[in-house]
């Protein structure tokens, strides 16, 4: 597929190269322009505007920038323990979802890569949560963990694992993990599809050769499948991390960031500052802090991965 792009020269090129090329460039630019204008108007301009706002105080009545405050928004934020807690919570929450969904997705993909009765059905069922809008996922898991009518309480009580019905969302720590669970459940289909495609792209000869050499299935997994799949798994994991940073709907529906702000991630914090407190300046500063945190974690993971491969190569 890729080499077809390489010999891409337009056909008419050789008639009179200069003019035709220029005409083609003009034409292609015209085709791309409307899309670029929309994207620039809805993305670029707002993104820059938010960056500017981060250093200002916004006047909500006049709907314009009130005055410049330098780094005050940032210093205010970092002086707020709630915000600093939210940063760590957000990183934990993101890593939980990234690692959880990668692990679950990998295991399910390995399973679906085997032959067994009902595999086609399972494949369809595994993809189902993909079709669930995030709000609905929130409502659904909220009902599962509902204190009175929830299935989880009923089941655990019946099994004798709890002696009274628990209010799951009453405890911030538990609530955060339930939100992560809902997010992981929703992320699994995407992960399974892409990891499965990766598994099916592995050359089958490798397995056969290893089997001939007497490698046990576990060894084959440890020394062949796992290392070969890492270049697929790590980017997928990072994608999930970035998406988890944007989680909003499930938090809003399940806990509204509570109790006592214990499920407030940075993204939710930005929402509260902007659209509950209407402090757009501070919200913008928080939004850019979120972006920096996201990029920092992605960078750290990428660097760690580089270091790990470099160490393995000479050995």
């Amino acid at each position: 597929m890729r080499d077809s792009v390489a010999d891409a020269g337009p056909v008419a090129q050789d008639r009179s190269p200069g003019t035709l090329r220029r005409r083609e460039t003009a034409f292609s630019s015209a085709l791309v322009a409307p899309a670029l204008i929309i994207v620039a108007g809805i993305y670029l301009y707002p993104a820059v505007f938010t960056l500017i706002l981060a250093f200002a105080e916004f006047d909500m009545a006049a709907l314009e920038i009130g005055r410049w405050v330098g780094f005050k928004n940032f210093t205010d934020l970092f002086a707020n323990p709630g915000f600093v807690d939210a940063i760590w919570r957000t990183i934990y929450f993101g890593l939980l979802i990234a690692i959880g969904s990668t692990l679950a997705g990998f295991l399910i993909a390995l399973l679906l890569n085997q032959e067994f009765y009902g595999r086609t059905l399972l494949r369809v069922v595994v993809v189902l949560p993909w079709a669930v809008p995030p709000v609905v996922a929130g409502v659904l898991w909220g009902q599962m963990f509902h204190a009175d009518v929830g299935f989880v309480n009923a089941l655990l009580f019946r099994l004798g694992l709890i002696d009274s019905y628990r209010i799951w969302f009453g405890d911030g720590r538990t609530a955060l993990h339930i939100i992560a669970l809902a997010e992981i459940w929703k992320a699994i289909p995407f992960m399974v599809l892409f990891i499965l495609a990766g598994l099916q792209g592995l050359p089958p000869q490798l397995h056969e050769a290893a089997a001939v050499d007497g490698a046990t299935p576990l060894q084959r997994f440890r020394y062949i499948v796992f290392p070969l799949m890492l270049p697929v798994l790590i980017p997928l994991m990072l994608i999930q991390f970035v998406w988890a940073m944007k989680a909003f709907d499930t938090i809003f529906v399940l806990t509204r960031g509570g109790p006592a702000g214990q499920t407030t991630t940075l993204n939710y914090f930005v929402y509260l500052e902007a659209f509950q407190n209407f402090d757009l300046g501070r919200a913008s500063a928080a939004a850019y802090s979120l972006l920096v945190v996201t990029l920092a974690v992605v960078l750290v993971v990428t660097v760690l991965r580089r270091l790990a491969t470099r160490r393995r190569v000479p050995a």
């Binding site: 083609e24 034409f27 993104a47 709907l63 067994f116 669930v132 409502v139 659904l140 009518v149 089941l155």
Partner: protein, 280 residues
């Protein structure tokens, strides 16, 4: 010999058991939601664990779809269908020429453009929503279908361009080249040749655009306050305010249904198109 056979049986049992566990974990939450939506409140509230309903009860659906219900689901379904369709159409009209140009023609800064489009998905949505909110309020068009279509198009367009571009990349060039030699303009090639060949990609892109718009929650939450302007995803959340559990489940099922149907009907197409994109 028996040892080996035994191991095979054990492996097979293990596989099937794992499959069952995965099946339950992935499907049960959805089944539970559907079940709840079809049971009377008294059964839901009773602390009995019952997984197979004795009878089906459709009152919750009637109730939430009735006019003037506290969950504005009627308006929501209508508005969402309208906004999602408009967004999908707008995005396709703008994205198809752009995708064709990026795939086949010399576009100055093409690499940068593609990178910028992808980077959009790494930035927190709130970064865009804050100024957009200000602008929309200033123009006095918050709380309108129009404001939602604009915002959604920004989110959806990069994705649609990306899908269409990867699809067009995979089409054979020969036909287009032959048409060029026969004297067709690039525009004619796009309309008469690329568009018909790219139909599955266009369909997939449309479905994606529709779904992404349908499920969007934060944007309408911020941009609309009038109940008449609510979208289905937003109306849904109002169901978390003190209504019957069964009605809440029914509202959730109705929100989910159009998306689930699209995904089920077009599952093969969607996976193929998405996987094609993942190759690069």
């Amino acid at each position: 010999m028996t040892g080996r056979r035994g191991r095979q049986i054990a492996w097979s049992v293990f596989l099937h058991l794992s499959a069952l566990v995965v099946f339950l974990l992935m499907a049960f939450p959805l089944y539970g939601l559907l079940l709840t939506s079809l049971q009377p409140e008294s059964v839901i509230r009773s602390r009995e664990l019952s997984f197979i309903p004795e009878s089906l009860y459709f009152e919750h659906f009637h109730a939430v779809l009735a006019e003037g219900h506290i969950v504005p689901l009627r308006e929501g379904l209508f508005n969402s269908a309208l906004v999602s369709t408009l967004t999908a159409v707008l995005c396709l009209v703008v994205a198809l020429p752009a995708a064709y140009a990026l795939s086949r023609l010399r576009v100055p800064g093409a690499k940068g453009i593609l990178a910028a489009l992808v980077s959009v998905y790494f930035l927190p949505t709130t970064i865009f929503l804050i100024p957009m909110f200000v602008v929309l309020v200033r123009w006095g068009i918050d709380d309108t279908v129009f404001s939602l279509v604009i915002a959604y198009s920004g989110f959806v367009l990069p994705f649609v361009i990306w899908i269409l571009k990867t699809f067009i990349d995979r089409l054979p060039r020969e036909v287009e080249e032959a048409a060029r030699i026969d004297g067709c303009s690039h525009w004619q090639v796009l309309i008469r040749i690329v568009l018909p060949m790219a139909r599955p990609g266009v369909l997939a892109a449309f479905i994606f655009a529709f779904i992404l718009s349908w499920v969007e929650f934060l944007t309408p939450l911020i941009f609309t306050s009038n109940l008449k302007m609510t979208t289905v995803a937003l109306g849904m959340f109002r169901s978390t305010i003190d209504i019957q559990v069964g009605q809440q489940a029914a509202a959730a099922v109705l929100t989910l249904l159009p998306v689930a149907l699209l995904m089920l009907v077009f599952q093969r197409l969607i996976t193929q198109v998405l996987m094609a994109g993942a190759d690069r």
